[in-house]
Amino acid sequence: MRVLKSLLATAALATGLAGAAMAEDKTKVGFIYVGPVGDGGWTYEHDQGRKAVEAAFGDKVETVYVESVSESNAEGPITQMALSGADLIFTTSFGFMDATLAVAEKFPNVKFEHATGYKQSDNVSVYSARFYEGRAVQGHIAGKMTKSNIIGYIASFPIPEVIRGINSAYIHAKKVNPDVQFKIIWAYTWFDPAKEADAAKALIEQGADVILQHTDSTAPQAAAKEAGNVITFGQASDMSDYAPFPRVSSIIDDWAPYYVARTKAVMDGTWESVSTWDGIGAGMVGIGDISDAVPADVKAEAEALRDALASGEYHAFTGPLNKQDGSAWLADGETASDYGDDGLAGMGFYVEGIEAEIPSN
């Protein structure tokens, strides 16, 4: 009994000391997620980034997160996180944009980082990845592999990021297969496995044999697997559970290096509001292993395209390209600019050839 008591006392003392030491200057980093960490896609990868921050700084950092935060009601959770003493908060969905800015104004000493948005302020940085580079690779493989010439696309919300992806995939599919047709379904959700599965089934029933998704769950992969002759691509995460078929490749978001670097900046006191937009070259967008279900020559072409995008030798939006209404957008050899009128950041139009209309946002 006495042994036990002294053990407990020692333990209590040790934890007390540790607690005191930890409380000194631990940097608290918060994350606001739009889906659950187990979605297997978008939020899962952000959470991998959070874990990388913990691994990199160990005891010097404390991370917290809130998952499945509604985009229409995000101010509460973000405020709560700021009040709880977070030094740096990552809000990881486009729809958190205005809420992040509103809360940031009230907490000038807390640093904020908003993913995929475009509104910056003194204590709000924006960061995003050039997912459309990955979409170019997908479009190439899709155009080469489709037999029905119908490619199904499960889109989420009509925002520039999603529209860029559709355009990029279409341009590169069309380039290798002039007969290709895109069927686009707007799911109006980032995450709803049942709805995503229904959308995938509707596309497959209407003849699509390639499904591209811009929603976050693996449900479309399961629907394609059941159909048997449909290929898919992992979205945001590798989704390798469905490799080598139907998932033939993927776009992987790698946020870890960015999250670690920004946390370090807060620790060092060098944090500044910046706008970051990195692609394959910087490693923020990864192309998942192209499986053997893809013919060797197509695979080699896709890898060459990936490397050209990474080195900057080729831009995914290179003219000549017209807008959907037939008006000129990019002249021969011209590449799209990031900002300004008709820039990529605010893209709100389809390129020529897509037979659909963008819903008004």
Binding site: G35, P36, V37, G38, D39, G40, S68, G152, P158, K183, I184, I185, W186, Y188, T189, F191, D192, P193, A194, K195, A197, D198, A199, K201, A202, L203, E205, Q206, G207, A208, S217, T218, A219, A222, A223, K225, E226, D241, E355, A356, E357, P359, S360
Partner: protein
């Protein structure tokens, strides 16, 4: 636009699949509310059923056992609610919401090891002879067994509620629990049984999503289906056949609007996307315009037995 690309047979078949989870959850909740209890924990019981059904289905390799387990899990969770609101007199609304939050968290915990695992496929029942009827056969008679089970549950619920003494007692308890108590009926026992039935149905509805409709386990995968079920119960004025109509309308239009989008009909996508909600509500409200369609008299009220 090419409507010819939409295959009406496939569409009707997927309509039934899309509607079944909501139908199961809604018919269960209709019985609970008929007994005078408002259980807002449908979403929590569904997601728990989804994960337990999936886990047991994968472990045993038999989806049917998964469905039974899901029903048991949903009923078990609902008993937690039952004890809190019936014996400890906690607020029904708050407890129901709590049950949903609890179910979402619990399912995430249970489901961790099952992420990315594929579900065993459930064989379709091709009902002999009937499934060979041209056109109608493939739509109506070539489904997985749960589609039929859900329809049988609706029919039985209607029969028991309106044609039997047990149903009369249940409705009596829901309309006026003090009068029912004065007549010597066991209000709490009746309600506990109704809540358990509601939990079992919600659990099976959730399992239908994870075992048949998607089919895989993804955290948070019911994504609000429980709330739709709750709304359908109200708009269907607590009547079993209208619950069926509401669920099939909602499921049907959800699938139809996705197909219309893919076919490129010139209707704005925003309108298509909201159509399941609007049309379901409109139809159910219109058919409820005549007659008495009030909520059960004691719905959501606390019962305190006085001797």
């Amino acid at each position: 636009m090419d409507l010819g690309q939409i295959n009406p047979l496939l569409l009707l078949a997927s309509l039934m699949v899309a509607a079944t989870p909501i139908l199961l959850a809604a018919i269960g909740e209709a019985v609970v509310e008929k007994s005078g209890v408002l259980n807002l924990g449908v979403e929590g019981m569904m997601i728990t059923g989804a994960v337990v059904g999936f886990a047991i289905g994968v472990t045993t390799g038999a989806p049917s056992i998964g469905f039974v387990a899901a029903a048991v899990a949903g009923a078990a969770l609902s008993m937690l609610f039952g004890v809190l609101v019936l014996y400890l007199k906690s607020n029904q609304v708050a407890t129901g919401l709590g049950l949903t939050l609890f179910g979402l968290g619990l399912s995430a915990l249970i489901g961790k090891p099952y992420e990315g695992i594929k579900a065993p496929t459930m064989a379709k029942w091709e009902i002999p002879l009937l499934s060979d009827i041209p056109v109608l056969g493939p739509i109506m008679f070539r489904h997985d067994p749960m589609v039929y089970v859900s329809l049988i549950i609706v029919a039985l619920t209607w029969y028991v509620l309106t044609r039997t003494r047990a149903g009369l007692i249940l409705r009596g308890v829901g309309e006026n629990h003090n009068a029912a108590h004065a007549l010597g009926y066991k209000v709490i026992r009746v309600r506990l049984m109704a809540i358990a039935f509601g939990g079992a149905c919600a659990g099976m509805g959730g399992a239908y999503i994870s075992l048949v409709r998607v089919p895989q386990w993804v955290e948070g995968m019911t994504a609000g289906a429980g709330w739709i079920a709750l709304a359908i119960v109200v708009f269907a004025s607590w009547r079993p056949w209208r619950v069926l109509l509401g669920a099939y309308l909602f499921g049907g239009i959800s699938v139809l609007q996705l197909n219309l989008q893919a076919a490129g009909v010139p209707i704005p996508v925003e309108i298509l996307a909201m159509s399941p909600y609007i049309i379901t509500i409109l139809v159910l409200v219109v058919i409820s315009l005549r007659g008495n369609h009030g909520a059960p008299g004691s719905l959501g009220r606390e019962f305190h037995a006085t001797h």
